[in-house]
């Protein structure tokens, strides 16, 4: 995960939310304790790029994360963010129409208010002005004239809304799964990522799924928002054209942060995309403000490379692969900071823990135990936890192996070597002999 600077940052923020930690605690856990900036939010606000060069290592990037929420450059003008979806210009048109109507009315009313208040200020306390206090034609005029403008607003607003809520038939489907307090975006091939990666110039159909409470998916630059309601499958869609002017080239690095990763043909792997913001806009509790992700609108070629690279977890080192799996599939319940707020045993210091107690007695925490706990969680129940707290999971071998390595890396009892290089995959996943 640490190859992708921005995504890795956002994953970390989600981690903070899931772990349910106050910012100083996060800083203590994840940051170099010597980093002096960790207690000074203003300092970080002023120097947001301080940790950028060290993006290769999550730990090194941590001191900057006292902000919890990454920098955004939302673009656009004084009134609106940059418009980046096919229908967002339509929204902006209606916006500016209402804005101008409002300005005209406000200037008229405000000016009359101040002008009258001053011009007709009281000079003689006994003066009682008499004048017409009744004029039906005038009343009808100022009732009906605004009505026409209102009708225009309604019609344009409704037409724009219909465009927003009518997805094309051939849209690329992505399922947005929200939970307290993070997101996963599932692609049709089954791959789920913490950020929303989509191809440019293609209609994208988003289906919202909530695992717990109500959330809301909001992408300001696309002007879309749709609640993620438990028990419903709310859908929305967008199509974002590729914008070459604001596009970024992102050279992918190996875990060491120096070596360029290579694509299948041996060329350096570079993603090209526009980046936009994604917020949760329905209040959902402690980590609500931290449910921020990014939208990466790739060129079609870059999207294919990204998908190919991301779906194969062995492109990461086993530990990092395990962390990514944990992040996407386990972190909403299992913490790695000792917290049990998720309702499940923490993974902190779990591996090889000599004091780990099941309802049936002590057990050694090793690969066999973890494997059984994943595929049949009710078989071995940890003392103090419900017997049916978790549903059985089927994970591919690489993900399982990665998880073991990750769990080792967060346990102080671990004595086994941890697979920290990509070469270790050869040992973890011995090649299967090809059979005809």
């Amino acid at each position: 995960m640490t190859r992708l600077t921005a995504p890795s940052l956002t994953l970390l923020f989600a981690l903070h939310g899931v772990a349910g930690l106050a910012a100083p605690a996060v800083a203590e856990d994840l940051a170099d304790p010597a980093a002096p900036a960790a207690t000074e939010p203003e300092v970080n606000a002023a120097e947001p790029e301080a940790a950028e060069p060290a993006a290769g290592e999550a730990e090194a990037a941590a001191p900057a994360e006292i902000d919890l929420i990454p920098d955004t450059d939302i673009g656009g003008n004084t009134f609106l963010p940059v418009s980046a979806a096919t229908y967002s210009d339509e929204v902006d048109f209606v916006f500016y129409f209402i804005l101008w109507v409002s300005i005209v009315f406000f200037v008229l009313i405000g000016w009359l208010l101040v002008y009258y208040a001053w011009k007709y200020r009281q000079r003689d306390k006994d003066y009682v002005p008499h004048g017409s206090h009744h004029n039906t034609p005038l009343e009808l005029t100022w009732s009906i004239a605004p009505g026409i403008l209102l009708l225009l607003m309604f019609i344009w607003g409704f037409r724009g809304y219909l465009d927003m809520s009518t997805p094309p038939k051939d849209a690329y489907p992505v399922t947005a799964v929200a939970w307290q307090w993070s997101w996963a975006f599932e692609h049709p091939n089954g791959y789920a990522d913490g950020d929303l990666h989509v191809p440019a110039g293609t209609p994208i159909l988003i289906t919202n799924v909530s695992n717990d409470v109500t959330h809301s998916l909001y992408i300001p630059q696309f002007r879309i928002k749709k609640d993620v309601v438990p028990g419903r499958f709310n859908q929305t869609w967008f199509e974002s054209p590729f914008n070459a002017e604001t596009a970024e080239d992102f050279p992918v690095m190996e875990d060491d942060g120096v070596t360029p990763a290579l694509d299948r043909d041996g060329n350096p792997l570079v993603f090209t995309y526009n980046v936009y913001d994604l917020f949760c806009t329905e209040y959902c509790g402690r980590g609500h403000a931290l449910m921020n992700k990014k939208v990466y609108v790739h060129t079609r070629e870059s999207f294919e490379k990204w998908m190919e690279y991301s779906t194969d977890i062995t492109n990461l080192t086993p530990v990092k692969a395990g962390e990514k799996v944990w992040q996407q599939k386990c972190a909403s319940c299992h913490s790695i900071d000792g917290s049990v707020a998720g309702g499940a045993p923490t993974w902190k210091d779990l591996w090889n823990n000599p004091n780990h107690m099941l309802t049936t007695g002590p057990i050694q925490v090793d690969e066999e135990y973890i494997y059984n706990s994943i595929v049949n969680p009710s078989m071995q129940v940890v003392q103090g936890y419900p017997a049916n707290g978790m549903a059985p999971w089927v994970l591919p071998d690489a993900e399982l192996k990665g998880l073991y390595e990750f769990m080792k890396s967060v346990s102080k009892y671990n004595t086994d070597p941890i697979a920290r290089t990509k070469d270790d995959w050869k040992k973890l996943l011995p090649p299967i002999e090809a059979t005809e």
């Binding site: 349910g20 106050a22 100083p24 939010p41 970080n44 606000a45 919890l68 929420i69 990454p70 955004t72 939302i74 009134f79 929204v91 209606v94 916006f95 209402i98 109507v101 009315f105 009359l112 208010l113 208040a117 007709y120 200020r121 009281q122 306390k125 003066y127 009682v128 002005p129 008499h130 206090h133 004029n135 100022w142 605004p146 209102l150 009708l151 309604f154 344009w156 607003g157 724009g160 809304y161 717990d212 409470v213 109500t214 300001p220 002007r223 879309i224 928002k225 309601v229 438990p230 028990g231 913001d277 949760c280 806009t281 329905e282 209040y283 509790g285 402690r286 609500h288 403000a289 931290l290």
Partner: protein, 600 residues
């Protein structure tokens, strides 16, 4: 400037003829009974109004403390305040905005104008001795206190972090004191209903001889429309909160999909009350503004019937627009379109009022005293609040603005900029009548300037933050939005200073203010036809309905520092218009209202 008046000190209260009130009649509602029980068990609407004032202002202080704290938390990105009363600082922030919203909504802004100004003024405006059901009135005060006690319990027992909207399923899963808070809101709902019943009955039954429906002061029309909403909508909130409590405590499946419910159903139930509740707040404010605008312009209100019927129209429309809170919730496009169109219609009666007020002050004789400044400020802020509502009523722009700071700014312009402004303006306007003393005009105006600047600084920038995508209820935010939050927080401090300045101005007036004349403004509605403060039984004679917006028969009396009746013939006062040909909306020969003995 001629409008600053420094009349000679007046030591004795004077009546509407400018004569000193005879010493045996000095006994007013404040002095006519002594001791704790004479207040706690009083049936006097004026005393109940005063007790509401103390309680509601206390709630305002509490909600205000949370507002200042939460704005301070947001002055910089990341954690700003130390974690004092929650598990984490984001939890603490969530509690602060929830308690700010819940306390301000249920304990302050809904009861503020009806329970304080309405209670004090409504029977006086009707020339009546009290409201129709004085005991019910006292009971509504105790319901308010009971509901307030629940909220104090919430504060002491783990707080509340659901947002004032209590959206499920979060509110059924969080471990804060949701049950106590919903019960508190439930009990407060009864307070609101009882006040509504009382006002409606009073307006129907207690109008004096000569006060036809169209000679009622517009505040009474507004309170009548408010009462209708309170009676019809509040029970829905009560039922909703009971269902929520049933689901949370007993596990009855209503809103939780895991139990076969639907969270969007909760939103429908909630907003079916809470949207009309917005008009429970704003309608009395519109009424207060109509009173002040006409009275301090010394000119008959323009378009009386249009203003009166626009209040009823707003009350009616308020019941059929709730769905505009749910454009993104997944309700069908058809419903969205319907609610969008219906919401647009609310703009028309609102615009009618604003245009009529402008027509009223045009060619008036505008006395720029503090109440008038607040009324004019109200029009300014209400216009901004109303116009920005257009962006939210329109479907595709609302999709962008929903649940952003744009919405926050919009409803603060309406709830604070408008309702609070009308409340403060109304308090200044009726202050002499309530307490029999005048506040310091100079300080009142300075305080207005400070609050006005502070308010606009706080909330105007939030429109831009929101339109650029800043979501609401965020404990932390991207650096992109730093300056908006910084400016907004500074504005909050200025606003806070202004509000304490106003409080000081009131307390100073209570203690040191000169004795108020019966009618400092030259208004003509009936509450100004009795000494300030009014006697226990309100009137020494049986008042008759008059056109409340005709000011011809009052003249300025420098000696009493107020207006007195031109014609010293007591038989003439309050019975008929001085110039009946000048204003006569009623068809010739229309029967006077049903004769109800005043003071009955």
């Amino acid at each position: 400037m001629s409008v600053i008046n420094t009349p000679p000190p007046v030591t004795n209260p004077t009546d509407i003829y400018g004569q000193p009130v005879s010493p045996e009649k000095h006994d007013n509602y404040l002095t006519s009974g002594k001791g704790f029980l004479s207040w706690a068990l009083t049936l006097d609407h004026k005393r109940i109004g005063i007790m509401y004032t103390i309680g509601v202002l206390g709630a305002f202080l509490l909600g205000g403390i949370f507002a200042v704290l939460l704005r301070t938390e947001l002055i910089w990105t990341g954690q700003t305040l130390p974690t004092l009363f929650a598990d984490t600082w984001t939890d603490q922030y969530n509690q602060m905005f929830t308690l700010h919203g819940a306390v301000m909504t249920f304990l302050f802004i809904i009861p503020a104008i009806p329970a304080i100004i309405g209670n004090f003024v409504l029977p006086l405006m009707l020339g009546a001795k009290d409201v129709a059901f004085p005991r019910l009135n006292l009971m509504s005060l105790y319901c308010w206190l009971g509901g307030g006690a629940f909220f104090v319990y919430v504060l002491a027992s783990g707080g509340l972090d659901t947002g004032w909207t209590f959206y499920t399923p979060y509110s059924t899963t969080t471990n804060t004191s949701v049950a106590a808070a919903t019960l508190g809101a439930f009990v407060l709902g009864f307070s609101s209903i009882l006040t509504g019943v009382n006002f409606m009955a009073s307006i129907h039954m207690l109008r004096p001889k000569g006060m036809t429906w169209f000679k009622m002061p517009l505040l009474l029309w507004a309170l009548y429309a408010t009462a209708a909403i309170q009676i019809l909508a509040t029970p829905v909130l009560a039922i909703t909160l009971l269902l929520l409590t049933a689901e949370r405590v007993i596990g009855v499946g209503i809103f939780d999909p895991a139990l076969g419910g639907d969270p969007v159903l909760y939103q429908h139930f909630f907003w079916f009350y809470s949207h009309p509740a917005v008009y429970i707040m704003i309608l009395p404010a519109l009424g207060v503004t109509s009173e002040i605008i006409s009275s301090l312009s010394r000119k008959h209100i323009f378009g009386y019937k249009f203003i009166a019927f626009s209040s009823l129209a707003i009350a009616f429309f308020s019941f059929i627009v709730w769905g505009h809170h749910m454009f993104t919730s997944g309700q069908s496009a058809f419903f969205n379109a319907l609610f969008s169109l219906l919401t647009m219609t609310v703009a028309i009666p609102s615009a009618i009022k604003v245009f009529n007020w402008l027509a009223t002050i045009r060619k008036g004789s505008i006395r720029l005293d503090t109440p008038m400044l607040y009324a004019l400020g109200f029009i300014w802020l209400f216009t901004i609040g109303g116009l920005t509502g257009l962006f939210l009523a329109t479907l595709n722009t609302d999709i962008h603005f929903h649940d952003t700071y744009f919405v926050v700014a919009h409803f603060h312009y309406v709830m604070v900029g408008s309702v609070l402004w009308a409340f403060i303006g109304g308090m200044y306007y009726w202050f002499p009548k309530m307490f029999g003393r005048m506040y310091n005009e100079f300080h009142g105006r300075i305080a207005f300037a400070i609050t006005f600047i502070g308010f606009n600084l706080t909330f105007f920038v939030q429109f831009f933050a929101g339109s650029r995508g800043m979501p609401r209820r965020y404990a932390d935010y991207p650096d992109e939005y730093f300056w908006y939050h910084f400016a907004s927080t500074i504005g909050t401090y200025v606003l806070t200073i202004g509000l304490f300045y106003i409080l000081w101005n009131w307390v100073d007036g209570l203690i040191k203010g000169r004795k108020a004349p019966a009618n400092p403004w030259g208004s003509n509605s009936l509450e100004w036809h009795t000494p300030s403060p009014p006697p226990h039984h309100n009137f020494d004679y049986e008042p008759h309905g008059v056109d409340p917006y005709l000011y011809d028969h009052w003249r300025w009396d420098e000696a009493v520092g107020g207006y007195v009746i031109k014609d010293h013939d007591p038989a003439h006062d309050g019975i008929e218009d001085v110039d009946p040909d000048h204003y006569n909306d009623d068809p010739p020969g229309s029967a006077p209202a049903k004769p109800v003995p005043a003071g009955a």
